[in-house]
Every structure is written in C-alpha cells, then in structure tokens.
C-alpha cells in the first residue's frame, strides 16, 4: 500500500484549503419530474404496499417504489443501488428519514419491471436485498443507532436486534393490515442518538450496573470535576485512593444506589466503564408518536423494564414486540396509533391484552414529573 496524496500538504495545511462550503445543493439531485413539479403536487395514493403515486397539477405523475434499506451499508450495496437506479430511474434515487430507499419513475409501465427487479435480488445467504414495502398502515423500517458495530457506550447491539425484529415483522412491512402506521425504533443506550423516545415501539439498550472505577487511569486521564458535574443524580464525589506505589490517587467515589446507569460519567471519563454482559440488556417502550394527527405527540412509556441481551437473535425481545403488535392489530380502531389505543383502553388493559407483567420498575419515580403519572382518579378498570 503506497500512500496516495490527495494534494493536501501537511506542512501547509492552509494552502488552497477549502472550508465551510456546506452540503451539495438539493436541487442538483432532483429527478426531472420532481424538479418540474416541486410545490405543485396535488395528491398521492399508495397503489400497493411499497408503491406510491404522486400526481401534480401539470398532470405529471411520479411513481415511487420504496424498499427496505439497512442503515449499515457497504459501497458494494450502494453501487448495486446505483445500477438499479441507472437501469430504471435515469440515475436518480433517494433515501427516506427511516433508512428506506426510494426509486422513482415517471410512468406506470416502469413500475412493475422495477419492483420485479428489486424483489429478485437476494444476498448469497438468502435474505432480500431490496424488499418492497414500508408504506401506509404497516410497519416501516426501524431507525437505529450504531450498537456494537461502532459505539463505545452501547448496552446492546443495534443492527442485530433490528435484523431479528424486522424478520419477525416482515409480513407487516409488506402489508397494510394494521390500524395505523407502526414506527419501531432502536437506541443502543439511553443517550438515544436515535431519539427513540416518541416511537410506537422503542427498543432501548440499558445498563444496570454502576460504573467500575479504574482509579490509576482515572487519576491520569479524567477531569474529575467534569465527571462529577456530568452525573444527573449527584451520585459521584471526589475521593483519594491509595495507589499501588503507596502514593495517593485522585479519584471519585460513586454512591451506587443513586446511579441511574445513564453512562454520562463514562462519556466524560473513560475510566468509569459500565458495560457488563449480565447487567446490560433491553428496555421496551411503547405508545409514542411524533405526528400531531388527532392527538398531540407523545412520549413512549416503559412497558418492559428489562430483557437480557440474547445475541444473536434476541428471541425474547422479538417475541415480546410481536405480541404487542398482534394485540394492537387485533384490538385498535382504524387510524388509532398504538399509544392512542393504549390510552383509550387504559394502560391496565394494555398490559392485560399484551400479556405483559406490570412490575414496580414501571412506576415513575424520577423527579417531579413522576407524580403526574400516578393515577389520581377513582376511574380505573377491573
């Protein structure tokens, strides 16, 4: 491997430097039918799961075929997407906010060959490369975080549980049988760089053991005041520890019973790791949404306090999610999101219908807002 210079001169970093130019401008990449009709769309319809048509004032139509993408994607896969887009869509393609890939064509006769082509492509071991679906009252793609592929704080993997869950929900990715759309999201720790806290079903990695203290390293490595300030429950205080060489080490002490396992201290100080095979696992949350449709946006609520990590297939997590989806599919009214359904029937019924245990962990005890989640009426269901 010979080093290939880009032209950058490390001795003169400012020479010919180009900065602050921002992204490429969006309209460079619009397919003609989009560029011609922007802002002049009249209506849309989902012709079948995964296939949409948008009709413009001009009479132009754009047909979109949506297919599931995997967020962790190789250039090999992207180049295959390029091949497909060049074959069917004049070299244009887009992604959705939820990691789906959308291929757009400007006439209906181009739709079926495109769908056929996408559905025919499989990986060597048999999974679909581009399953068509993810529209309407069904399950769309799971948005997620990095997990064990790339992150330093995860309490679970991301790509693994997502693959296992989507395999189980695959039929609903390709169907419109649910009462409304169902959004599943995964964040591999409660930093939630995936912001899963407003999802119909959220899969959340969670640690359950307080940080370990690597004192020698902590003294050398960490800004102790920052680690202390990072703790939302004030569980960390400075202390002095006897070092191996007889000297004193500046370090911290953690009041374990006050720890909420958020890992913020670890973010500020790498000498305070939390990860633990037995301690880490999954929290399931349910009933959130971001849309303002009918009811206001809602946070997801914790409905299962802990499920151990079960790589590679996370069977308990997947089965529990499946159970919730089936109970919702069976019982909710048309247009009712999972959280709206739970509120209508009452959370006591939700636990019954989803066959979930209600444990003390599910009663909020975190600061003031907790009080407002306790039942303050005599109205409840037996």
């Amino acid at each position: 491997m010979a080093f290939i210079s880009s032209g950058y001169n490390p001795d003169k970093p400012m020479e010919d430097r180009i900065t602050d130019i921002g992204p490429r401008k969006y309209d460079e990449f619009y397919p003609p039918v989009i560029a011609n009709n922007k802002g002049k769309w009249l209506y849309h319809e989902i012709l079948k799961p995964g296939v949409l048509v948008h009709v413009a004032e001009s009479g132009d139509k754009v047909f979109t075929v949506r297919c599931g993408g995997v967020r962790l994607m190789s250039t090999t896969h992207i180049l295959e997407i390029c091949d497909i887009a060049e074959k069917h869509c004049d070299g244009y393609v887009r992604w959705t906010t939820r990691n789906n890939i959308e291929f757009m064509v400007d006439s209906e006769d181009k739709v079926e060959p495109l769908v056929q082509d996408l559905e025919s492509r499989k990986f060597a071991a048999g999974s679909y490369k581009f399953p068509v679906g993810g529209t309407g009252a069904g399950v769309t793609n799971i948005i997620h975080t990095q997990g064990w592929v790339h992150c330093h704080t995860p309490a679970t993997d991301a790509s693994g549980p997502v693959k296992a869950t989507m395999d189980a929900l695959f039929d609903d990715f390709k169907d419109h049988r649910l009462p409304a759309q169902l959004r599943v999201s995964l964040a591999c720790c409660l930093n939630m760089c995936g912001a899963v806290h407003c999802s119909d079903i959220a899969i959340l990695g969670y640690h359950r053991k307080p940080p370990m203290l690597d004192h020698e390293y902590l003294d050398k490595m960490c800004e102790i005041p920052l680690a202390i300030a990072a703790c939302p429950t004030a569980a960390i205080k400075p202390t002095k520890i006897d070092g191996a060489d007889g000297g004193k080490l500046k370090s911290v002490a953690v009041k374990n019973e006050r720890c909420m396992f958020c890992g913020n201290c670890y973010t500020m100080c790498p000498a305070m790791p939390l990860a633990d095979q037995e301690g880490d696992g999954i929290v399931l949350m349910a009933g959130g949404k971001v849309s303002n449709r009918i009811s206001a946006p809602k946070f997801s609520k914790v409905v299962v306090a802990f499920i151990p990590n079960e790589p590679p297939l996370w069977p308990t997590t997947v089965a529990t999610i499946k159970k919730m989806v089936e109970a919702y599919a069976k019982d909710a009214n048309k247009y009712e999101r999972l959280g709206e359904w739970a509120e209508r029937i009452g959370w006591e019924r939700f636990f019954e219908k989803c066959e979930l245990d209600f444990t003390h962990h599910l009663i909020d005890d975190f600061r003031d807002p907790a009080y407002f989640t306790w039942r303050q009426t005599s109205q409840f269901k037996f």
């Binding site: 992204p23 948008h54 250039t75 090999t76 244009y92 693994g160």
Partner: protein, 437 residues
C-alpha cells in the same frame, strides 16, 4: 474469511436484508480487489470488523474504546475518533474513525455523485457507511487518522462537499421531503434547510455552544422528520386560512370511488368508508359536519392536526396563507428526561432570506444559551431551568395562550420589581408608624 463468525452467521437467514451478508460481500470484494485499488487503509478492515463484532456478540459487550480527539484542521466537528480495544486481534480496525458527511436536502442523489463518494471511500476508508445517521448525515464508517485530511481535501476540492456537525456545535440540519414530492408541505423545507446550513457554517464546524444544537424542518404537522421530538428548534409548516375543499372529491370518497388515506389501509377489510366515523367524529376540535350533503368545516376552530387531510387528500388541501410554527427545546432523555418541543412562535413566514427567523428567533436564543447555558445543557434544559418566560423575554415575544397547554395551577408567580407599583424598596420605620412591633 479471516475470522469464524458462527453467531453473526445466524443473522444471514430470514427475509430482512442482512447486514452480515452485506459486510461479507464487502469483505470479499476487498479481498479480491478486481479493480486493483491501492487501498489506503487495511484491505481486511471489513473482515476484522466482522471479527470484533462476533466477539461482542460472544461477550455481550462492545469492543470500541472511548473516543479520541481527531479531526481536520480548523474544524472541531465532523470526525469522531474510534479505536478498537483489541487492536492486536483485529489490527484492521485498530483505528476506525467516523466522518460525518453533510447530506443533501431531501436525501436525493444522482448515481454519478454516489459513485464518486463510493470511489473515494473505497480508496481511503472501509467502504462501510450509514445511509444515513440519525441526524441525517451520510456516515463514513471506519478510516485511519492519516486519511482524515486526505479525505477532507478530496471532498472539498473534487466533490464540492463538506463535513457535517458533531460535538458541541450546530448539528447537520435536516428536512422532510417537503414540496419536492409532498402536497402537504407548507413551505420549502429543503430551501430553508440549505439556507440555514450555509448561513451557519461557522457554528456547524467550530464548537462554541454549551452542547449540541439541532434544527429540523417538517413541512406539515405530520412531522415526518420528528422535529418536534428531537430538535432544539423545530420548524413545522402550518397555515392560517381555510382548508381548501373539493366537494366532488368528498362525494367520491363517500361513494367509495377513492380509497381513504391514500390507500394506506388496503391490507384489511375495514368495511365501506364512513365519513362520520372516520373523519368527522375523529376531528379533535369537532369542527366538521355534513350539511345538505356537503362537508363543512369551521376553519376558525381547526387546529390543523392533518387527520381529515390525510384521510381525504384529494378532497381537502392545506390553506394558502402558509408559514411555520416554531417549537423550542426538544431532546432525547439525557440528562433530565426527554423533552418535547414547546411552542414559542405560533406563526411566522418562512420565505427567503428568512431574516425574521434568523434575527428574531435563532440568534437571540443562541446568545442567551451561550451566555447562560451550563456545560452540556441543551436549550430545553435551560428553558426548564429559567422558564419559558425568560425565552420569550430574550426574543421579545409577547406571551400568548397558544404557548401553553394550560395556565399555571399554582400562584407562585415570580413578580419582577418593575412590575409592582412603587417597587420593592420600602421604609420599615414608616411601616412601624402604622404597625407596632
């Protein structure tokens, strides 16, 4: 393959696209190297990634070390350092840094451009990406420190492309598909997203904030990019005039000629469309009714929840007097619990050059937050700590009942001295003239 991966291999079956299969095809392509690429990072990087991931599946713990300060000259964001904690076993991923590449609005691409990016990333990185990261960026996953400047140089010189945000700065703004392909977009989300991204390049690349700051642009209250839940400033399209109606199309929905909700319930027999049950009775403000076979809306009472428009897109259309509602302070749970965006501007025009939004909303809020925000305090947390009133004061906004769910139920009002007649300075001796001790 260099490493056995019996656990990961189980994720190759099942119908959903397997990331393991994709990693393997990428590993194989690099090993064969039919194009004769002079790889600038280890050729077996993907094989080692599979190896370290298998080890994590076995151990139930991650094998990535805590960050590391790496970056490109003059920027404080856009690159995230990552090192493997088993570098001897997996030398190919010993350094495995991430670069955030600012994605184009609407996530539209030409294949020509994607191919250019792939070529760059195959040469100088692992060839693995996230399409896309949660915030929106294209994520280049895995390269070594010496390649960072080279990649940045090629990106800016050859591809007219910049990095995205990370750390305590403006994160890469993102938008919904908007007017590009949606009839409900009340403003051009891509135009404003691009304009703000360009205007605030300095804030995006050079961390000067207490913590991260996110803008997201939703074209309508359906909130497809979830701005209301996850952006410090959330811009949601809205309108002030009447919903436009086509009574013939209403009849076509009633008559079953057009499927409700754009055909999104086609997987089950829900029975014939019932406009009372499915639209009128579900309206949260009960401002709709049928009269002489016509659908009526008391638009003044409408709160623009989008339900009726979603159900009957061919009959009902958004109004023409359009702008944005601005919400502030949303964030995920860290630290003090999740926060939803709170309404600070009921309505503002969103047309270029967006001066009112920049000068009356964004910049005063940033000044306040940079002055008063504590280290790692999000805007929403500062709002919680100092109160919504303080934000209104900072922006010079008049309080409006639209900004609250309900008025306070405690009377503990923090009166200010200048609000109280005569002020707070009093003479206790004068008081004592009237009141004995």
């Amino acid at each position: 393959m260099k490493h056995e991966t019996p656990l990961l291999d189980q994720l190759e079956s099942g119908p959903w696209p397997s990331f393991v299969s994709d990693l393997k095809q990428q590993a194989e392509k690099r090993a064969k190297n039919e194009e004769g690429i002079d790889f600038q990072i280890p050729q077996d990087v993907v094989e080692d990634l599979l190896g370290v991931l298998e080890l994590s599946f076995k151990d139930g713990e991650t094998h990535w070390k805590h960050g590391g300060i790496v970056g490109v000259f003059g920027y404080g964001g856009g690159v995230i350092g990552r090192y493997c904690d088993q570098p001897e076993q997996f030398p190919g991923v010993a350094h495995f840094h991430t670069m955030r590449v600012n994605h184009p609005g609407g996530k539209f691409y030409t294949t020509k451009y994607l191919r250019e990016l792939c070529e760059l990333w195959d040469l100088r990185g692992s060839g693995l990406t996230n399409m896309h990261g949660s915030t929106g960026d294209i994520i280049f996953l895995g390269t070594t420190t010496p390649q960072l400047e080279e990649i940045f140089y090629e990106m800016t010189h050859k591809h007219n492309q910049d990095l995205g945000g990370s750390g305590s700065n403006l994160r890469t703004p993102s938008d919904c598909i908007g007017q590009a392909r949606c009839e409900w977009a009340c403003y051009d989300t891509q135009a404003i997203c691009y304009d703000f991204t360009q205007e605030y390049q300095d804030e995006l690349h050079r961390p000067a904030f207490p913590y991260k700051f996110k803008f997201k642009f939703d074209g309508c209250p359906n909130c497809c990019v979830a701005s209301i839940a996850r952006s410090d400033l959330s811009f949601i399209g809205t309108w002030r005039d009447d919903i436009k109606m086509d009574q013939e199309a209403v009849q076509a929905y009633i008559g079953g000629e057009i499927p409700p909700n754009g055909g999104s319930h086609s997987g089950r027999d829900w029975g014939p469309f019932d406009i009372n049950k499915e639209v009128i009775n579900l309206c949260p403000t009960q401002c709709m009714w049928m009269e002489d076979g016509k659908l009526m809306i008391d638009n003044k009472e409408c709160t623009r929840c989008m339900h009726c428009i979603n159900v009957m897109p061919r009959a009902l259309r958004i109004g023409d007097d359009r702008g944005v509602t601005i919400m502030a302070g949303a964030k995920a749970p860290i630290l003090d619990g999740a926060q939803m965006g709170s309404l600070i501007v009921p309505f503002m025009r969103a047309e270029p050059p967006y001066t009112e939004i920049k000068e009356k909303v964004i910049e005063p809020i940033w000044d306040w937050w940079m002055e008063e925000g504590k280290n790692r305090e999000r805007l929403g947390e500062l709002m919680k700590r100092q109160g919504l009133q303080r934000l209104l004061e900072v922006c010079g906004f008049d309080p409006d009942p639209r900004m609250v769910q309900e008025p306070r139920s405690n009377p503990y009002i923090f009166w200010k001295e200048d609000e109280v007649e005569g002020g707070w300075e009093r003479d206790v001796d004068k008081f004592r003239e009237k009141h004995q001790r």
